[in-house]
């Protein structure tokens, strides 16, 4: 087995909602008016090995993007620990060179690329600044990287708005690769693209992974993409991981009721018309999550116990953990 490149231990992040300085000052005196705290990521532990791709899947508001930002070191954690190659880090500000080792690709390339810089500068700037390449060789270096992501050499002199959506995402990937990262975090990197363009970008990411052995965390709401690209998958619900397993295992035999529901809701290309009633209910507000297991109000097999006790992640098979209190989870679901 490969060595561990990243580890998160009990990582949490809370946001205070409506916490303006005046409000906080007032709260100081009016003790009964507690500010509302949103626990975006709640005690998440996971690992990533060299060369591995880990998928994080969940619906909007489940905290997957907050998790990505914490892993990338853009966002400080409220509590918990992050380790890169065994070394704990909080934010990368202290050691800027290390910050380059974890790079991110965002959903909307137009808002993550500087519209007033040419692609050559966007891609090459950081590499030159951090002396990964001498300025005199920067142009060749950038052309090289652009070729790797399938962009012609003359794109170097063009601006982001002169590209199509798929090409822009290629620029975003080139920008991330230019500083020779060891780990890449893709936050909904293909969500805004057309199916045929999405296929091109997924193939590109797979090529990069094969050629450079880059470890990747791939965040998406699209189970089809996750299934295709990832070795292991973590399913998140309201800030917590509810199930984590190898991709094959998770799709073949999901055990957590929420994972089951997600897989059922996933649109598939098939000729069988869906005739059953989909599971009702919406994601509760993360501001006031249900007590106990967050999922219990929507869960078909929830018992009274579930509304009181927070389920911990338990191992149910090698490499397969889930957080469900119902021990007979699997058989109960089988009868559904």
């Amino acid at each position: 087995m490969n060595e561990m490149i990243f580890e998160a231990k009990g990582l949490s992040r809370s946001f205070t909602v409506g916490g303006s300085p005046i409000r906080e000052f007032a709260n100081h005196f009016l003790r009964d008016r507690q500010p509302t705290v949103l626990r975006a990521v709640d005690n998440v532990s996971l690992t990533l090995r060299e060369g591995e791709t880990l998928g994080v899947v969940g619906e909007s508001g489940c905290g997957k993007s907050t998790l990505a930002r914490m892993i990338a070191g853009i966002l400080p954690a409220s509590s918990g620990e992050r380790c890169f190659r065994g070394e704990a880090y909080d934010s990368f500000l202290a050691r800027k060179r290390d910050a380059l080792k974890i790079q991110m690709v965002f959903q909307d390339p137009l808002s993550s690329l500087n519209p007033r810089l040419r692609v050559g500068e966007i891609v090459g700037e950081a590499a030159v600044l951090h002396r990964l390449v001498p300025r005199s060789k920067a142009k060749d270096y950038v052309v090289d990287i652009l070729a790797r992501v399938g962009l012609p050499a003359d794109s170097i002199n063009r601006y982001p708005h002169q590209f199509s959506g798929g090409q822009r995402q290629r620029v975003g990937i080139a920008r991330a690769l230019a500083v020779k990262p060891h780990m890449l975090i893709c936050d909904e990197a293909v969500a805004a693209l057309d199916v045929s363009v999405q296929a091109q970008i997924i193939n590109l990411l797979m090529d990069i992974k094969r050629d450079s052995g880059l470890a990747m965390i791939f965040i998406s709401h699209d189970l089809g993409v996750i299934r295709h690209l990832c070795d292991r998958v973590a399913v998140m619900y309201l800030g917590r991981i509810v199930e984590l397993a190898e991709t094959k295992q998770l799709f073949a035999s999901p055990t957590h009721p929420y994972t089951r529901m997600l897989l059922d809701g996933m649109p598939k290309i098939s000729l069988q018309r869906r005739r059953f009633m989909p599971i009702q209910g919406e994601i509760p507000s993360p501001l006031h999550p249900p007590l106990g297991c967050h999922f219990h109000p929507r869960c078909q097999i929830a018992t009274e116990h579930c509304s009181r006790v927070r389920p911990e992640l338990r191992q149910i098979a090698p490499g397969h953990v889930h957080a469900c209190l119902n021990i007979e989870c699997r058989s109960a679901l089988g009868e559904m």
């Binding site: 199916v195 997600l262 809701g265 996933m266 598939k268 290309i269 000729l271 869906r274």
Partner: protein, 322 residues
């Protein structure tokens, strides 16, 4: 088989821009029967949304419907003037868009927006309107409709908002609903719920629906028939069975093949090389020819329709065999 109540015949919608003529929709023809969902699938720039807007009579300068006819219950819509068309919009044809926050007025309660929609087309007491509104909200699966009725859009989740929009669309009992990517911005579990409810309403009320999307998997579960568009032109139209199960057009096949769930996990996806051609520089032939493996010289000529079955039509010189 019932008679179609809605027909589009030879529709051309072009935009006369400073860069040149953008032929966004070229020679589109289809029809719709009651209780039927027609899915229009295509990538961005394929002209699927412009088709929807053309039907609604919502094409603004510099664009216009150059030729073709659109008939609803036998009445021609393209020749109606603005005032006449306005009586149709909302009442006989309703439209649902991708982003409910842009459809709903953020300063008005759901109640007032629904009253306004009814009031624009008919008179009636508030009491009567109220019952109708609550019923419409119930029909799309909104829990505690009385409460939601008095809420503002920002107090609801994205899924709830989209349900409200659908409820408003259903309010006046239209014959046709055009939905442009209505569930694209929603989570999968919510999407499944809404699709279920929409299908039920269509079956119960016997209305026709045009569902515009880029997502073939949603269509395979919802639509009765599917029309595939590329660069403003029709590529293939047929029943869902014919399109998903036995697509004959190279573009449809490629589109289906590039969906991750139809590929072996971990293997490279079958991608379509290249990009969509610019709509400014289209030749008279098949627009997909430059990316098509099967293309030959003849593909540069105008492509006639080939009728494969009573429902299956295709525009291609080199279709796949069954």
């Amino acid at each position: 088989m019932t008679e179609p109540f809605f027909q589009v015949d030879g529709l051309n919608t072009w935009f006369f821009t400073r860069q040149g003529m953008v032929k966004s929709v070229r020679d589109i023809s289809f029809d719709l029967t009651r209780g039927e969902v027609l899915g229009i699938v295509g990538e961005s720039g394929s002209g699927k949304s412009v088709t929807g807007m053309s039907i609604m009579g919502q094409i603004d300068e510099p664009g216009r419907i150059v030729s073709g006819s659109i008939t609803l219950n036998g009445e021609e819509l393209t020749t109606l003037d603005f005032e006449e068309m306005r009586r149709y919009r909302g009442r006989r044809i309703a439209m649902i868009f991708q982003n409910p926050l842009m459809t709903l007025n953020p300063l008005m309660r759901v109640r007032d927006q629904m009253y306004e929609a009814i009031g624009a087309h008919e008179d009636g007491s508030r009491r009567k309107m109220h019952d109708r509104c609550i019923e419409a909200l119930k029909a799309v699966g909104i829990p505690s409709p009385e409460e939601r009725f008095n809420a503002y859009p920002h107090e609801m989740s994205g899924g709830m908002r989209q349900r409200v929009v659908i409820a408003i669309a259903l309010l006046l009992g239209p014959d046709l609903i055009i939905a442009d990517e209505p569930t694209t911005a929603l989570d999968v579990t919510i999407q499944a719920q809404i699709i279920y409810q929409i299908r039920r309403q269509i079956d119960e009320r016997g209305l026709g629906m045009i569902w515009i999307t880029h997502d073939l998997s949603t269509l395979s579960e919802l639509a009765d028939r599917i029309m595939v568009m590329y660069a403003g032109a029709m590529m293939e139209i047929g029943t869902t069975q014919e399109i998903i199960g036995s697509a004959r057009h190279p573009y449809t096949r490629k589109l289906l093949d590039s969906v991750p769930s139809r590929n072996t996990p971990g293997e490279k996806l079958k991608q379509i090389p290249g990009n969509m051609p610019s709509l400014l520089a289209l030749g008279k032939g098949c627009p997909f020819a430059s990316r098509c493996e099967r293309a030959t010289e003849i593909c540069g000529e105008p492509v006639p329709a080939t009728q494969l079955s009573g429902t299956h039509r295709i525009w291609c010189y080199h279709p796949f065999e069954d």
